[in-house]
Symmetry: C2
Subunit: 206 residues, 2 copies
Amino acid sequence: MAYPAPVEALIKAFEALPGIGRVSAERLTFHVLRSERSGAALRDAIALVLTDAKRCKECGNVAEQELCGLCADEGRDATTIAVVEEPRHVEAMERARVFDGRYHVLMGALNPADGTEARHLSIHALLDRVRRGNVREVILATDPDKEGEATALLVLDALESAGIPDLIISRLARGLPAGSAIEYLHKGVLEDALEDRRAIRRRGRS
Amino acid sequence: MAYPAPVEALIKAFEALPGIGRVSAERLTFHVLRSERSGAALRDAIALVLTDAKRCKECGNVAEQELCGLCADEGRDATTIAVVEEPRHVEAMERARVFDGRYHVLMGALNPADGTEARHLSIHALLDRVRRGNVREVILATDPDKEGEATALLVLDALESAGIPDLIISRLARGLPAGSAIEYLHKGVLEDALEDRRAIRRRGRS
């Protein structure tokens, strides 16, 4: 069925967003058609974000000021940067209180299915930070899934091409998740755990 | 993590749409943050739909004119109205060339999970059409799923409360889908097929 032009245009605009297919885009459009209020609310909220929302000029995370709270915090170790996909990953690491370095938020992961490409991710900003010096280590802390892997490779390539002397590039360890039971873990987890196994006692040489 | 106000507002506006949860709403918001172009496109497309999109004043379907093509077609039987959830259902019935009556498009189905309520569905407009007379039968043609069932009941209630004399209210038949194989059909299908079975030869009385 050919929809009228404005309807088709809105379906297309929704469809261009990550993770929204044709059917969902139609449903969302019909919702706007039947509930003007929620359509107007969305239109205004987008407009406000486009004009008012800030991203930290250092790490790219959403921010209230030019610098986010974490980048403004002089107490944190500026020589170590954890590269994460999204703001919620910063939140998770902070909640766990396991890291006191700085972050770099890519604002997404490579995902051909939902249209997220390298140009959407703030990799240039990361290179700028690292080039400015004073960074000793970049930890790739993307998700251990296909999209996260591809993103980590992309960032790794970019960092290596930049040729910064003495920069350490690491990634989060893979293996058995603490508190789990081996019998319930899937193949990939066990594969990683074996591959990355650590020697705890070396064979004697005598 | 507390997001800055405009960011949180956009997350909330996305979350208010059907079928979008918190995590998807965040992803969509991050996409707008990292791709101003797609955000602006969506904002403009919504604005255009709010100002320009028409719904047929008779059946509620999306339309180019005051009346959609099907309602404007004098050749179609105006005494029979099929009540469907969405424009794509009209399309499916038209493609099948099995119905030459009129439609009424509710523009959704009752769905507490995604926030679609009775007030979102164009039931009043249906009652107005039926009250104007000349309608002999209303066929409830919602989807045979939970949301469609609930919606059909809602429309049935509304029609019955309206107390229109001699109005026939029917629903699409349930049973074995043509071309299927009984061994692969699930319980609900077989249950419907048994429940709605049709006598093809009555037992003799001799």
